[in-house]
């Protein structure tokens, strides 16, 4: 079924009884050409582009839980292309372009809202660093505007500009950045893949990867064995466990990242605001809740919930930046499992096993990457060659030290990103 304004109107007149499920619920077949392990944003987008761009048909996405239950439905939905380093820049630039056409491409409203993102700075040194980053963004063909304090004030009058510890010196404004409805992204890609013949198999946990003579043969699952010519891992926070089934150890440590939402309020925060010095960022959802978060809890965890110290830290940073937030009541907090790499950048690559591919290491920034990651991973799986926007995401960069993508400049070591 294609969605359209007319459809919404006629369905409204007939009691909305004609809507059908967005995707099928098929039984797993005995064999597929391609199996994707993990039905998060990246797995679903990969399936979609395999079918759409490469004409592949016989594909299954195996998801141990339900579609949208992982990080794709737990993140704070920020989309931006403000990266600095080659390797990242061209990739996130491509992703942002895909975001801009996504709702119409998928025929599904992902509520992509380019409300603009403002990164605040609080010192001369930080201003220089952001000016340089802004120039890199412009060189990449994206947009960036350096704002002075008055420029920030026009957009964000509610900030504490003269804060004693973090006075606001200005901000780097990225007008094309914004937010999207995370669930809709998962559902839209799921529906698009399903319509092109991909089997989405939920409640199907992969428990083993079958390898014979150095080539992948299929997988073992909670719903029985399934053969496959190619197997692509894309399990985000669980990447370490899935790779272990293929005898691999990854440069990944899984950490918990928390997020928070307040009760619904009238529109007051029109942009995405990021306060790097306080490890704090915020936006307002279309329902009115203030959605915000901070840094990792900073210990290895699969808990999907965090501890109190980071909650307090985030609340304190919020109060420092915008004292008005003290009147809002937090209604929910949660956590997600982040696949952290030593240099903070991801991996989209082949492995030493024929027909086995790896996509992981999205850290806390993989939502914005969903379209371009699916696009590039599909290209790699279909052609065996990396896509031109994702040539830097090599697994061996850690071993060789060549081509590390350390965006924060803190060093390529676990626990520094």
């Amino acid at each position: 079924m294609r969605f359209s304004a007319l459809k919404v109107f006629t369905q409204g007149l007939s009691g909305n009884k004609g809507w059908t499920p967005h995707w099928r619920d098929p039984e797993p077949k005995a064999e597929y050409d391609i199996i994707l392990i993990g039905g998060g944003g990246h797995g679903l987008a990969t399936a979609y582009y395999l079918a759409k761009n490469h004409g592949m048909k016989n594909i299954a996405v195996l998801e141990k839980g339900y579609i949208g239950g992982g990080n794709v439905g737990r993140n704070t939905t920020i989309v931006r292309a403000n990266y600095f380093l080659p390797g990242n820049s061209e990739f996130y630039s491509h992703s942002l372009k895909l975001w801009e056409g996504l709702s119409s491409d998928l025929n599904y409203n992902v509520m992509f809202s380019q409300r603009g993102l403002i990164n605040l700075f609080h010192s001369d040194g930080q201003r220089d660093a952001f000016a340089r980053r802004g120039n890199a963004m412009v060189n990449q063909g994206d947009d960036a505007v350096l704002l002075d304090p008055d420029g920030v004030r026009k957009h964000l009058p509610y900030l504490d500009f003269d804060n004693g510890r973090f006075p606001i010196f200005g901000g780097l404004y990225h007008p094309r950045g914004g937010t999207a409805r995370h669930d809709a992204v998962a559902w839209g890609y799921a529906r698009g893949a399903d319509q092109r013949g991909v089997d989405l198999i939920q409640n199907c946990e992969v428990t083993g990867i079958d390898i014979e003579n150095g080539a992948v043969r299929g997988v073992q699952t909670s719903r029985g064995p399934i053969r496959a010519k190619k197997v692509a891992m894309v399990a985000a926070g669980r990447s370490g466990q899935v790779a272990a089934m293929a005898g691999m150890r990854l440069p990944v440590e899984s950490h918990v990242l928390q997020a928070f939402v307040t009760e619904g309020l009238k529109p007051c925060i029109d942009h995405v605001v990021s306060f790097g010095m306080g490890h704090f960022y915020i936006s307002q959802s279309d329902k009115g809740g203030l959605v915000f978060g901070g840094d990792l809890d900073f210990y290895a965890s699969y808990g999907q919930r965090g501890n109190l110290p980071m909650k307090e830290h985030v609340m304190e940073a919020a109060m420092t930046l915008m004292p008005m937030i003290g009147k809002a009541r937090v209604v929910r907090s949660w956590g997600g499992i982040m696949d952290m790499t030593p240099d903070g950048s991801p991996v989209i690559d082949t492995t030493d096993t024929d027909g086995l591919f790896v996509n992981c290491g999205w850290c806390y920034g993989g939502f914005k990457a969903v379209p371009a990651s699916g696009y590039a991973y599909a290209h790699l799986i279909a052609t065996g060659q990396p896509h031109e926007t994702a040539t830097g995401f090599r697994l061996d960069r850690f071993r060789t030290g060549v081509g590390l993508i350390d965006e924060e400049g803190t060093g390529s070591q676990h626990n520094l990103h």
């Binding site: 990854l250 900073f298 290895a300 030593p342 071993r399």
Partner: protein, 84 residues
């Protein structure tokens, strides 16, 4: 989460800095080669369940503590001093 420092007793995790997986005891020889060093510096078992990691009692006595804990439940099972 609360961690028991062998010298100071049970303390809030705010007092501790996290180092990561407790691999430092198995440091390879300087000439062990790229694969061994890659293994040591980057690759991780990253278990969902029981793990051992190193915490530094930064806000206390500066001891290094080897903590056995569960990464799914956040239970702290055992804490002991790391002997140099």
């Amino acid at each position: 989460m609360r961690i028991t420092c062998p010298y100071c007793g049970t303390r809030d995790i705010r007092e501790f800095a996290y180092r990561g997986a407790a691999i430092d005891a198995n440091r390879p020889a300087p000439d062990a080669g790229a694969a061994a060093w890659d293994d040591f510096v980057h690759l991780r078992d990253n278990p969902a369940g029981e793990t051992q990691d190193l915490w530094y009692h930064e806000g206390g006595c500066s001891a290094w503590v080897m903590v056995t804990r569960n990464t799914v439940t956040h239970e702290v099972l055992e804490c002991r001093a790391v002997k140099p």
